[in-house]
Amino acid sequence: DVKVTQSSRYLVKRTGEKVFLECVQDMDHENMFWYRQDPGLGLRLIYFSYDVKMKEKGDIPEGYSVSREKKERFSLILESASTNQTSMYLCASSEGVGAAYEQYFGPGTRLTVT
């Protein structure tokens, strides 16, 4: 079974803090993704990576950056957290990004910025 783990289930940070969300997958997948889930909006893609040290912007990259130094690990960074970044953050990985490849998700990190 594919396992995608996220470093924290719940996180509370103050406005202006730098926040790191970590994601690790154990299936040697090439591709990794960061989404945020908000009520009424579904899942929106923030960034994705299809190889080590490679990254691509998703639909809502503003205010975020990412790092992929190792194949199994993909980090999401909030340089200066703001209250509108309070959300559920979901990491996913997939073997490929072609039509038939499904994405495997981690359990999510509920981030609250106060």
Binding site: V4, R9, N31, Y35, P39, G40, L41, G42, L43, R44, L45, Y50, E56, L90, C91, A92, G96, V97, G98, A99, A100, E102, Q103, Y104, F105, G106, P107, G108
Partner: protein, 118 residues
């Protein structure tokens, strides 16, 4: 602007009856559609998918129907069971570049919360 829309935020159904979840999309270039299921405190898990060249795909109690002319797909769960109570996300894939195999983008709907009553 959401290209994948799930207009019903919630659905309540009696155990043993059929659950029908609907999804509409606006971009005719989507070529693959997926349904994900999400329990509270867990990440979404893949449920079933359908290619745009088909109009039906069945997997046990789950069937997905695709109507390309109407840009509409639906998920049928028969019979519904209490364990089916979850949030269901419709998602669609589109190829956004001609050469790079990584040029696929996945767009999600807002989700439908299904409650199966015993």
């Amino acid at each position: 602007d959401q290209q994948v829309k799930q207009n019903s935020p919630s659905l309540s159904v009696q155990e043993g009856r059929i659950s029908i979840l609907n999804c509409d999309y606006t971009n005719s270039m989507f070529d693959y559609f997926l349904w994900y299921k999400k329990y509270p405190a867990e990440g979404p898990t893949f449920l079933i998918s359908i290619s745009s060249i088909k109009d039906k795909n069945e997997d046990g109690r789950f069937t997905v129907f695709l109507n390309k002319s109407a840009k509409h797909l639906s998920l049928h769960i028969v019979p519904s069971q209490p364990g089916d109570s979850a949030v269901y996300f419709c998602a669609a894939k589109i190829k956004i570049g001609p050469f790079n195999p990584n040029d696929y983008k996945l767009s999600f709907g807002a989700g439908t919360t299904v409650t199966v009553r015993a």
